[in-house]
């Protein structure tokens, strides 16, 4: 990246760290064996996977046999929820999930709803938190599983796993959390947290893409999604992606060793950006402030302008972000997270997520704010729909209303 580039899309993916790449390299061209092979190449590869599993387990205070490597957090989410549903005891056909989930969880739940499970979609408050009392009220005798995203990928809300897990534990309900964003940034200790299943990945913490992991608490029955060989303790067939697994373990190790220092730094970036962005007129912050917000997330709504257009302008200026705008998606639907916290569609359209890593700088924050000010000004200047000129338009479908000039 050149020094003009400002990459603030670290919740989408992060730049790999040099030590992670170095750790992976031998497993491409030297120790390239299949961990299932019985010869020395196989044993070397198997050792690498075993050591990586022990590292990840150690970081979670779990047992190595409770860790299953996968291809992504999406796969881990699918494995956890479908897998538990597959093994559901008789009479347990109710699932609970929050409305602020990633599609890798929401769409699994929607599919299970079509296949005979009953699913309760839990509301969240304006900051995106699930209220443990709401969870308690939603639990029924036939409830099998509750799933919630730990660190929210859009608005950064960090759920209280202890409180939510406690409710589940008291009721004999399994508890899954999608920690795709939070693993490596928030301490997760399965000895203390009443969580049964945790989905993780590597590429949000400077590791490689194409690898993830699922923690499955000992004793929890999870059916496997695919058939094949006995890899991953019979839980996930297919030859392990050895270099990526090694990279994931290295990235996790570095992240957790430096967690406090890196989080403090990212919080400084985050809070400076939030403070300065909110100086732009007609803006508001989405998600909570303070310690229950992911250290690397800021999500701001810029009223009267459209997020995709903001994103494109920022991109032309070398600032890379993401948007909750409908026009950023093929389906033309705004982010489910932003609408779940009560934003009107128009507010969701004008929202931008700025997400940081430890590789960003305060200078980048200041420059991004300057760029954003200019872009907001430019786009608002072409809008007929800022409040002073605002004209309500209503319609259904792709439609319109028209007025003669003298009525406008």
């Amino acid at each position: 990246m050149d020094n003009k580039t400002i990459y603030f899309d670290n919740m989408d993916s992060t730049q790999m760290l040099e030590p992670v790449f170095d750790a992976m390299k031998p497993y491409f061209m030297e120790k390239f064996g299949n961990p299932a092979s019985l010869h020395q190449f196989g044993l070397d590869a198997e050792d690498a996977v075993t050591e990586s599993r022990e590292k990840i387990a150690g970081l979670l205070r779990a047992n190595p046999e409770e860790i299953v490597f996968s291809g992504s957090a999406t796969e881990s989410n699918n494995s956890a929820i479908f897998g538990v549903a597959h093994e559901a005891p008789k009479g347990k056909h109710h699932l609970i999930v929050s409305k602020v989930e990633h599609h890798a969880v929401l769409n699994v739940m929607k599919l299970l709803a079509k296949k005979g499970f009953e699913v309760t979609f839990l509301n969240v408050n304006r900051e995106g938190f699930v209220d443990p009392d709401d969870l308690k009220k939603a639990i029924r005798p036939d409830t099998l599983l509750f799933s919630v995203v730990h660190g929210n990928h859009v608005i950064g809300t960090v759920q209280d796993l202890k409180a939510l897990g406690g409710v589940c534990r008291d009721s004999g309900v399994l508890f899954h959390t999608d920690a795709a964003q939070s693993f490596g940034k928030t301490p997760i200790n399965v000895q203390e947290l009443p969580v049964d299943l945790i989905s993780m990945n590597a590429h949000k913490m400077h590791g490689p893409k194409g690898v993830g992991a699922l923690y499955i608490r000992k004793g929890v029955k999870v059916g496997r999604l695919m058939e094949g060989g006995p890899q991953e303790n019979n839980r996930r067939p297919g030859t392990e992606n050895v270099p990526a697994i090694v990279g994931m373990a290295k990235a996790a190790e570095i992240s957790i060793e430096n967690l406090e220092k890196d989080n403090a730094y990212m919080i400084k970036l985050r809070d400076r950006l939030i403070g300065k962005m909110l100086e732009i007129p007609d803006t508001h912050l989405n998600g909570p402030r303070g310690e229950n917000r992911m250290p690397n997330n800021a999500n701001i709504t810029f009223l009267y302008i459209e997020g995709e257009a903001i994103l494109m302008h920022l991109s032309m200026r070398g600032v890379y972000v993401s948007s909750g705008s409908a026009c950023s998606s093929i389906a033309l639907m705004p982010s489910n997270v932003l609408t779940a916290i009560g934003l009107k569609h128009e507010e969701a359209h004008g929202s931008i997520r700025f997400s940081f890593s430890k590789l960003n700088t305060l200078d980048e924050v200041d420059r991004a704010v300057d760029h954003m000010k200019a872009v907001a000004e430019q786009l608002r200047a072409m809008s007929a729909f800022v409040p002073s000129k605002h004209s309500e338009i209503t319609g259904a479908g792709q439609t319109f209303y028209k007025k003669k000039k003298n009525e406008l």
Binding site: M316, A381, A384, K402, L408
Partner: protein, 124 residues
Amino acid sequence: MRYSAEYMKHFSSPQNIGEMEDADSTADVLHTGGGCLDKIRIFVKRNGDKVSKINYQCRACSGTIAACSAMSEMVVGMSLTDAGQFQGNQIAEFLGGVPDKKQHSVDLAAEALRNAIDNLTETS
């Protein structure tokens, strides 16, 4: 599909933006298909039976901004009859193609024009 150079040119430096004091007709359109809420206000000036000038304002994504800008250049000099039948695909072609997710943009811009022309016909 990548955005064409023409698309990026019209998005980054949109032409003919702003109100038109002496417009002969105007129309507002809102896209509510799916969750998209792109809005356009279009202003049309005629000279006899031809379009002489188009201006617009919008709260919209890059595709709709580019589509409005391209259209504001394309239809100057066009007969009112042709402008009244103007279609989004004509803008898409002018822009060197648009990704599927931006089809709504070219369709909305064309709809704005057709409605302003319709309004013009009704009031003339």
